[in-house]
C-alpha cells in the first residue's frame, strides 16, 4: 500500500434518464445566464444540440452563440477565435457538447477567457493556472475520453504544430451530464473504439504507479460495466440502459485515470497518433494486450484481481489463482477478436494503416512521452520497438 496519495473529483455528475433536464438548475447554481455552446458539425447535425436546448426549456438563460465548427484536433487558432466570440458576446459560462476535441477546446477557451489572456501558450504545462475558471458544463456525446471529469487538455499549437499539454485542477469541468440520449446515435465502430479507450483508461489506472484505493474503485466498476456492455452495444446501439451504463463507465474511468494517470499504452498511442495519425481508440485497442504482457511481472497481482470485473464471477472462480492474470489478457484478446469480427476494428498496426518504416519514429516518440513516467516498468527504445513489431502484424 502506498503511504500517501491524493484524490480529487470536483465535477458534479448528473447522470441518468432525463439528466439534461436538470441543467437549468445547475445554471442557477453557478449563476450562469449567457453560456456559449461549443460543439462540432456532426453532433449538431445529429440534433443533439437541439435536444440540449429543448431540455433546458424555461431556464433563464440565453445562448448568445453556438459554435459548431470545432475540428477533430483542438487547436490554438480555434481556441483564440472562440475566446474572442465569448468575450464579444459577453458570455459567462461554457457548455461543451461533444467528444474529446470539443471538450479540450472548451477547456482551452476557458483558460483564455478566465485568465483574460491573449496567448494560450503562456498557460501550457502543469499547474500554470492561478484561479478558478468560468463555469464549464460538459455533455459528452461519446463514451470514451472521460474529459468531462479530467484535469487535462491537449491542444495543438498551430504555429509549431506540436501538441501542448495543460494540466491543472482548475481544468476539471464543474458539471458533467451523462444522458443516454446523447450517445444513442453513436455508430457501432465509434462505440467500440471509444469503449476501448475507456477500458484502457481503467486498466492503466488500476495498474500504473499512481493508483490508489479511490481510483481503484472507479476503475474496477468501469471495467465491469464496459465489459458487460461493449459487445452488446456494438450489436445493438439503441439499448438505452446499456448506453447509460457505458457512458457512466467512461466517466468513471476518467475519474480514475485523472487521479492515477496512465502508462505505456498511452505513450505508444500518443506517439502512433502523432506519427501515423491513427485514431486514439484504435491505438488503445491494438496496444493494450501487448503492453499488459510487457508489464506482466509488475502487474500480475492487479490483473488477477481485475479478472473478476472483466470476466464475471463464474470464470473468475473457475480459473485457478495463478492462471487469472493470463486469463485476463486472454479475455482482452478475445474481446479484440470479437470486435474485429463484428466491425473490423483493427487488431494490428498494419491493419490500421501504419507503415513499417514508421515504427522507429513511433518508438522514439513513445519513450519521450510524459505518461511513461508512471508505467510500472521502465521502457527502452529497443523494448518499445519490440512491442511495436509484435503489434504490427
Amino acid at each position: 500500500m502506498k503511504e500517501y496519495f491524493e484524490f480529487q473529483n470536483k465535477t458534479k455528475i448528473l447522470a441518468g434518464k432525463k439528466a439534461l433536464e436538470n441543467l437549468p438548475s445547475e445554471f442557477d447554481n453557478f449563476r450562469v445566464k449567457r453560456p456559449i455552446i461549443l460543439t462540432d458539425r456532426g453532433v449538431n447535425k445529429a440534433g443533439l444540440v437541439d435536444k440540449v436546448i429543448k431540455a433546458c426549456g424555461g431556464a433563464d438563460v440565453i445562448f448568445p452563440a453556438i459554435i459548431d465548427d470545432i475540428p477533430q484536433d483542438s487547436s490554438t487558432e480555434e481556441v483564440n477565435k472562440i475566446a474572442e466570440i465569448y468575450n464579444e458576446k459577453k458570455c459567462d459560462g461554457i457548455i461543451a457538447i461533444g467528444g474529446g476535441s470539443v471538450i479540450d477546446t472548451a477547456k482551452g477557451v476557458n483558460i483564455l477567457v478566465s485568465e483574460k489572456g491573449k496567448d494560450l501558450k503562456e498557460f501550457a504545462g502543469a499547474e500554470r493556472l492561478k484561479r478558478p475558471l468560468r463555469p464549464l458544463f460538459v455533455i459528452p456525446t461519446t463514451a470514451g475520453t472521460g474529459s468531462e471529469v479530467t484535469a487535462v487538455a491537449v491542444i495543438k499549437d498551430d504555429k509549431s504544430a506540436t501538441k501542448m499539454l495543460f494540466t491543472s485542477r482548475y481544468l476539471m469541468p464543474d458539471v458533467a451530464v451523462i444522458d443516454p440520449r446523447m450517445t444513442i446515435t453513436l455508430p457501432a465502430y465509434i462505440t467500440a473504439l471509444t469503449a476501448m479507450d475507456a477500458l484502457t483508461h481503467a486498466i492503466e489506472a488500476y495498474t500504473c504507479l499512481q493508483k490508489n484505493l479511490f481510483s481503484d474503485v472507479y476503475a474496477w466498476k468501469a471495467i465491469e460495466l464496459i465489459s458487460k456492455n461493449i459487445v452488446e452495444l456494438v450489436k445493438n446501439g439503441k439499448d438505452k440502459e446499456r448506453r447509460l451504463e457505458m457512458a457512466i463507465a467512461a466517466t468513471m474511468a476518467g475519474v480514475a485515470f485523472s487521479n492515477s494517470m496512465v502508462g505505456l499504452v498511452h505513450s505508444l498511442g500518443h506517439a502512433a497518433g502523432a506519427v501515423a495519425k491513427i485514431p486514439h481508440g484504435v491505438a488503445m485497442n491494438i496496444f493494450l494486450p501487448h503492453v499488459l504482457k510487457f508489464n506482466y511481472e509488475e502487474i500480475k497481482e492487479e490483473l488477477k484481481e481485475l479478472l473478476l470485473p472483466l470476466a464475471g464471477e463464474e470464470i473468475y472462480v473457475k480459473t485457478e489463482e495463478k492462471e487469472r492474470a493470463r486469463k485476463f489478457i486472454e479475455k482482452i484478446e478475445e474481446l479484440q477478436e470479437r470486435l474485429n469480427e463484428l466491425i473490423k476494428l483493427p487488431k494490428t498496426l498494419k491493419e490500421a494503416g501504419v507503415k513499417e518504416e514508421q515504427l522507429e519514429e513511433i518508438a522514439e516518440k513513445a519513450i519521450n512521452d510524459g505518461s511513461l513516467t508512471l508505467n510500472p516498468k521502465d521502457v527502452t527504445k529497443e523494448e518499445a520497438l519490440r512491442i511495436l513489431m509484435k503489434a504490427y502484424e
Binding site: G16, K18, E21, N22, P24, S25, D28, R31, K33, R34, I53, K54, A55, C56, G57, G58, A59, D60, V61, I62, F63, P64, I66, K90, D92
Partner: protein
Amino acid sequence: MTSPRLILGSHNKLLEIDLTKKAFTTVSISNEERKLYLGGKGLAIYYLYKKMDLSCDPLGEDNIIAIFGGVMVGTGAPNSSRFAAVTKSPLTGLIVSSSCGGSFAFFLKSVGYDGVIIKGQAKEPTYLSITENGVSFNSASKIWGKDIFETQELLEAKNKGNLVIGPAGENRVLYANVASGHRFFGRGGIGAVFGAKNLKAIVVEKGSFRIKPKKEKKYMKIKRKAIKYINRNEYTSDLYRNYGTNAGFRICNEKKILPVRNFTKGMSEKASELYGERLKSEFYKKYSSCRNCAILCGHKGMFNGKLIQAPEYETTSLFGSNLEIYDAEKIAEWNEICSRLGLDTISISVTLAYAIEANEKNLFSFPLKFGSPEGVSEILYDIAYRKGIGEELALGTKRLAEKYGGKGFAMNIKGLEFSGYDPRGCWGQGLSYSVANRGACHLSASLFTLEAFFNFLKGESKRAKAQFVYYMENLFSAINSLQLCIFTSYAFMLEAPIAKYPPKIFLKIFISYFPRITQKVLDISIYSKLFETVTGIKQSSRDFLKAGERIHILERYMNTLIGVSRIDDTLPERFLNEGRESDKKKKVVPLEEMQEKYYKIRGYSRNGVPTAKVMKKLGIEEGFQPKPKRIKERIVSLVFTILGRAMKTLSTIDSNIKQEIRSWPTNFKILFNVDNYETSLGLLKNKKGVLNPQKIPEKQADLVITFRTIDAAFELMTAQKGIHHAYASNAIKVKGDTQIAMSLIRCLNITETYLFPRIIAKRIMRKIPTINLMKRYIVRIYLYLFSIPFNI
C-alpha cells in the same frame, strides 16, 4: 476662439479617456445606434453593455463611467442641457444612471463631443481639462481635499463646463455625488467612483462647435410649441416655477404619502412649515435652475441671511418631516453642507433616519434624535471625512442593517435609499420603487404624479398600475436619453389636445380602465419630433417609446447579469406589513399581484429576467433561448388544482389527515412550486384546521416544496413516479420544517390513495395507507363529482 464650426444634426463623437495610460481617443456612434439608443442615458448604457466587465469592482480600475449628453444639448430647446452619467454603483453594486442639469454637456459639445468615457484609474489625484485639441491630465494635488465650491473656484470653472467631487467622493462615501455647477449627479455614489479613480474634476473650455438642427424650420416650430405648452401647464408654469419641487410638499401631506419619522406616519400637522408655498413667500429670492430651463424649478433663497440654493422636495421631506425637523433654515443649511461636501441628500438623510430608529430600538448606538436638529451638521462632516461613527454611516442603510439588524426599517431597495413618497398611499409608486433599475428611485416611473398630483389613478388601488409603471418607465428612459428634463412630460403630455380638452373625468376613466388604449392615444410626439428634426433620423412616437423600452430592458438585463432577480424586487417590510399612523385602515402595499402583472407586461421570466424574446423584439440582441414547456406546465397546474381541492375536502372528512394536520400550527402556509415556472399550489391551514388552497407568495410560505424541473413535477403529478422516488433522484427541494414535510407527505399519500386506483397507487407508494374499501370508493366518487369540479 476660432470661427464657429457647424455640427449638422448630431455629431456622433465620443471622447474615450484612459486614466491609467493617460491617453484618449475618439469613438464614433453610428446612426443606427443613435436611432436605437437615442443618446444620454440610453447610449451610455449601451456603451457599457458592450465594453464593461459587469462583474468589475465598482471602486476598481475596471469600472467605467460614461457621461453622455443627448442630441438636444446645444440646440437651445427648453430644458435641453441635461446629460446622464452611467456606471456601476458602489452603493448598489448595480448599474446606476443619473441625470444632471449643469452645463458640462453643453461645453463638451462646443468642443465637439457628445460624451466622455472614463476608464482606468489615475495613480495620483488628477483633474482633466478638455479642449478642442484634446485632453490634458493635470495634478490635482492642490485641490484634493477642497470642497466642491472651493474647487470650482480654484479651477475658475464658472464659465467652463465642469464636473467636480467633494471630500465625500474623495473618501469614497458610497453615496457621494458629482457636481456640475450647482446641479448634481445625485444618486448611487458616482462621486465615489470618481474618487476611486483619483479623479477630482473635469473641466471643459468653451469650443467653437455649434449645433444646427437638420430640419431647422420644423424644429423651430416644435420648439415654439414646446415652450407654449410649458408656459401653459399648471405644474410647469405655476406650481414648479413658483414653489419648486416643494410644490409637492402640501400635496404629499394631504395625500398622506409624506415620509414622516422614518416612514411611519404618512402626514404631519407641522408639515405646512415646509410647504413650497411658505418657502416661496419667506425665503425664495430668485431662480437658480439648470441651464436652458423653461420651467425653472430651482430657486435660491435667503436662509439665515445667506443667499443659497433652496433645498429640493426630497431634501426638505427627508431631512425635514422624515426626521421630524420642521425648520426650513436648518434644512437649507444642511443642504448647503451636503452640496459642498458632495453628499447625496436623499441617501444621507434616510441613513440618519435609520440610525436614529436603530438607536431607539437598541440595535445601534447613535446620538441623534427624531425632532432634534442637534448634531446633524457635525455628522455630515463626519460622514464625508469618514470620521468616528461617520465611517459606518458612509456605507448607507443596507450595509448598516446587514450588520446591526433592522432591515424592515432600513429604507432602501437594492441598496439605494428611498425618496420622499410613502408607497402605502400610492401603490403604483410602490410597484415602481420595487422594480426600478437603480433601486428605490422615484424618477424611474414617478407614478406618484399620476396617483397623487394629477389624481388620474386612485392611490390605494392596484388598477392599471402595472401598465402605467411600464409606460412611464419607457417614456422616462427615452426622455432621459433624448435628453430633456423629465418634468417637461407634465406639459408635453397634458397640454396636447388629446389630453387637454376632454373632461378630466373622461381621462381618469380611460387611464384607469383602458390603460393600454390610453397609452396608445396619449400624444408625446413633441419628443420624437424634436429628435427627428434635430438629427434627421426618422422617428415616430412609437419608435421613441420603444427606444425607451429597449434602454430600460437593457439596463435591467445588465443588472440581472450582475445578479438581480425577483427576490430583490421588493419593498422594506415596513411598507408590506405595517400601516401608517395616519391611516385608520392600516393599508399596506399589495405588491405581489401588481408585480406579477408587471413582469408579464415587461416580458420578464418568473425570476425577473428579460426573456430572449423581448430582447429580440426590441432589437437588443439575438440569442437562442429554450422554450418553456407550456403543455407540461398546464397539466401540472391542473393537477395542482385537483390536489388542492381534494386535500381541502379530505382535511374535513378523513380522520388520518385531520390528525396529521392537527400537529401543524394554525395559519401554516405550504407552497408547492416548480423552478423557473409560474405554476404553484399554496395550502393554508386555517383556524378550523382545514387546508385551503390559495395563492401564497414564496416569501410568505412556511414550507416550500420545489420541483427542480417541470419534467419531474409532471412525472410526479401524473403518477408516473412517487414522491420518494422524486426525492431520491434529487427532483425536489424542501425548505422549512422537515417534520411537517414528512407529515405532509403522509397526507399526500392518503389523498392519492383516494384519488387513484390501487394499481397506480402501488406503483407510486412504498406502502399504501389502509383505508376501508367502501369508504375509499364513496370518498373517491364524492371527490371527483363534487370537490374537484365545484370546489366544495
